[in-house]
Structures are given as structure tokens and as C-alpha cells.
Amino acid sequence: MDKTAALRIDYSPLAPDGLVLSFAGRLDVYGLGRSWDEVLARAGAREVRRLVADLSAVQGLDGAGIGLLLKLRLDKEAQGGGMELRGLPERYRRLVDLYNPDRLKSAPAGAWGETSWVARVGLAGLALGRDLRQMVAFVGECTLALCFAARHPRRVRWKDTLLTCERAGAESLPIVLLIGFLMGLIMAFQSAMSLERFGAQIFVPNMLGLVMFRELGGLVTAILLAGRSGSAFAAEIGTMKVNEEVNALLTMGLDPVRFLVAPKVLAAAAMMPIMVLFFNFASLVGGAVVMLSLEFPMATYTSRVFTNLDMTDFLGGLFKALIFSLLVAGVGCLRGLQTGTGAGAVGQSTTSAVVSGIILIAVTDGVFAVSFYYLGI
């Protein structure tokens, strides 16, 4: 842009109580940034009653320039004064008349008013209650959908189910094996280092078998499922919600829970025990690497791993994992169905799916620990 057209503003007093603003150059959106506040401050002074804007030397005027003139007029009129435009070139007259200052007088009203923090705490509490109620209702709907699937196995969408099995199960195998191996390795190594002082390294395999099969196998695999697949379920269903595909299902008379949620929950539940088996196996391999490097023979390791472990531990672990998978897949789908409007809402429901999934896993695991203790399992 050429320099000669840069905005210049001169202020000269006008007796007895006025001010003349002489604009020259381009009065536009790029030039006004530095002068906007200054002009408003000088022209807005209380003692200035009458304002004259001289535009005879203006070489360019756009929406922002007219905005400044309108703002000056509105502010001055609010103070009880007045403003006059002088020397406005004819070609800009129509542009200036286009904007109606009366429409801009009132401050913009938001769609929602401001809320105090007390109200916000209350609203948050209500939202939490609503969310819990929706979760309970959703559990019911899921149960119905699964019962329906059991009674009418031919009406289950097996193609979707198998696809989800592949995505959530088979494709997650590398990460399940890697994390399992590393968990086994780290657990065995850390405990071996601690137990060395007591000469009790020989018990590391016993501990590893018990911990992995009873507790960590299901827990960690479920967290992996939440991060990998729960979020994907939420994003997929959430995007369908945003694109009104869920509404399309509803108007076709198809229950989204049966149509979208049931295949995913079934697939997750079917894959989870297998994933846990792989995880446990990989963790034992990790433990074996540590024990072999500490010069224990392989036979010692394999004979001791299962000594403290019986079938109820093994099956209990798998049962817990199954429940975790239902929770993670279910809450992922629920968050997807709860998605609001807009692209940001999909991101929110994805985050919420993972967070709620992990919270549910942790809480349920605690419940299992207590009840297994009292049941003597």
C-alpha cells in the first residue's frame, strides 16, 4: 500500500466547546488500529459538546472507518452532545447511509445471560444428576438391546460386529502385547530388586502370576480399550449425531442403541477376554526375560508362576475384564449419543468417553476387590 494514503488525524478546538477532527488519507480497517482508541478518548472528553468530523481529505473509507464515525456519533449523543460530518465525498454518502446507527445503540444481548457461581454450582449438580440418570437409563436400553440380540440372533448386525472386532480387537494386538511385555518386565525387575535384600527373588514369579492374572491383566487391557476403542466409538457415533445420521435412524424406526451400540458392545465383550489372555501371556514373557537374566532356570520360572494361582483367579480376572469391556464400550457409545452440535462437541464426547471409561473401570475394580474378598474368591 502506498505511504501517501496513510491515515492522518488532526485535532483542532472549535470555540466555544467543540472539536474538529480532520481526517486525511485512508480511513480503513488497516489504518485505524493505532488511532481508534485515541480518537474516541479525545473526542469523548466531557468538555467537548460539539464534534465536527472533516472528511474532505479522505481518500478511502470502508466499514471500519464508518464504524468509527458511527461510534463517535453514538457516544457523543449519549453524552447529550452532537456530531456533524463535513466534506463527506459524495461517493461515500450511500455507504454511510447504509448503516443504521439506531440498531447499534443497545449493547449486544447474549443468548444466555451471565450466571453467578452459586447458580453454576447448582447447574453443575443438576447436570451430574442428569448424567447419572441417563447412564442408568442407557444401561437398561443396552440390556434390552442385548436381550433382543440373544432372542433374535439373525437380526444382529454381524457385519458391523465383525468389523468392530477387527478394529477394536485384532488391530489392538500389537499394543496389547507390547504393554503386557513391558508391564511384566518392569514389575518383575522392580520386585526382584526389592526382594534381593531378603534373598526372596525366587518368589517373583509367584507374585507376577497372581498380580497379572487376578488384577492387572484385565485392568490395563480395559484402560487400553478405553483409550483406543471407547474414544473411537464416541467419535464415530458423535459424528453421526452431528450429521443427523442418528436422527435419520430414529425416523426410519431403527433404535440407535440396537443398531449402533449393540454391535460395538458385543464386539468389545467378545474381544476383551482374548486380549487379556494375550496381555497376560506377554507379561509372563517379560517376567521370564528378567528371571532368566538373573540366572534362574526357565523350569523354575514356569513351575512357580502358577503355584499360587488357581482356576478361580484366572476366571475371576477374565470375568472382571468382561465387565470392564461392557462398561468401556457402553460409555463410549453413550457419550457419542450425547454429542451436542458442532465439531467441538465430537472432541468433547471423545474426551469424556475416555475419562468416564477409566473412572468406571477404577470404581468397578474397587467394588470387585471388596466383593471378591467377602465371597472368598
Binding site: 480497517v29 485505524l32 478511502g60 471500519a64 464504524g67 458511527l70 450511500r94 443504521n100
Partner: protein, 264 residues
Amino acid sequence: MTEPALDIAISVRNLTCAYGPRVIVRDIGFDVRRGEIFVILGGSGCGKSTVLKHLIGLYRPASGSIAYAFPDRGGTLRMDREDGQDREAILRRIGVMYQGGALFGSMTLLENVRLPLEEFTDLPSAARDFVARMKLSLVGLEDFSGHMPSELSGGMQKRAAIARAMALDPEVLFLDEPSAGLDPITSAGLDELIRSLSRSLGVTFVVVSHELPSIFSIADTVIMLDKKTQGIVAQGDPRELRDSSDNPLVRQFFLREAAGAEVT
């Protein structure tokens, strides 16, 4: 290439648009005069939107030139330049309204309109808000500035999108199917808005449309594209074309006959 004449805003020469090997339009040329409402029309799939996307620099032409003339701000700029140097400068001086509005769903209307002002100018925050509200008042939406786009009807979203496109006072405004999906009354209101903005702001409009009533009501000049010939089949005043063109394709389009109907 010669410099376009003074009253020409956009000059297109030998433009070929292609997606990979698939050629959509071949070797077309036209001039958009400053201040006019220029409509690109044609049946579905004829390449209207493709030409528009090339004009606004979303795609690079396979060959040919697209020149913008901005006499008061530095002369002729070429959208098709290999090094892309003029592209930024052109983009600052044009505004685009997309078919669905393409308002950002996570922002209020005011924030949507304010965004270009925030990004490209150093106006203080209060000034940005004021200018954004002015633009919204131009399209009659000043009372909805705090609303989210999802709370508005389709016609209001399009009007808000026009306000956003006008945030930086562009010299050329591109509208992609402004009346698509709107009822006749809302659509007529939008046409009226376009005409009044064209008259009072002197902005050049390039509109892609296939809505006949809207075309007759706003267009100064139209070009009609055709899928088979991959080029322009007619050019000129839409009313004259309707009344006096002897091109069967043009007659079919304006008289709303189904393809092949003249065979019977």
C-alpha cells in the same frame, strides 16, 4: 498477458480446471466487470463450483490465467502465479460465502464475524466488536450476535456468512449457491440483500447458482457452463438469453425442460 481494462475486476483467460487427469472445464475465458453481479450457472456437475474454487484459489488451474484488478491498491494480481505470491494479497480483498454457510459452530455469530478482523487488523477489541456488529446489522442479524450458528435457521446462517465474508470490506464477494435450500420468501430476501449491497457498497459479486428466479432477479451477466462441452455455452444478460437464445441447451435450462424432452 495484457493488463485487464480498468472496469474489469476479474479477467479469466484459457482456464482449464481438472482434478488430476479428469478435466472438468476446458479453455474457458470471461471478464467480470467491476460492480456487477456475475452469475455462473449450469446444471449439476457442470463445473460451476469447480470454477468458483479455482477463482478463489482453493485449487490451482491446470492451465490458463486468473487476474484480479485492484486499481486503488496495487494493480493487477494473478491468482494462478506459480510461486503463489499474489494469492495472499488477493484473499485479503475477496470474501467467500460457502454453500452451507461454513460458520464456525463453536463460535457465536459475533465471534465468527470478528475473526477476520482479529487476524488481519490491529483494531482494539472494542472496535472489532463494534465493526462486527455493524456488519451483522447490515444483514439484519444484530440482535443475534450472541447466538451460536446452530441456533439459527438456514437463511439466517447464510446471511451471517455473508456478514463474515464482508468483515474486511472485500472488493469482490463470491457466493456459492446462496439460495440453495431456502424457501422462496427467504431466498427472495437474500436476493434483495445482495442487490442492495451491490448497489450501495459497489462490491462486485460472483454468484454460483442454478435457481432461475434468483438468477433473473439479481444477475447483470451470466455465463452458462455445460457438462458435455466442458465449456461456456452462453454468455450475456439472462433475460435476453431466455427470450432470444437459439441454443437448445440454453433454452432447455431456462424453460426447465428435462434433458431429451425436445426429441419427442
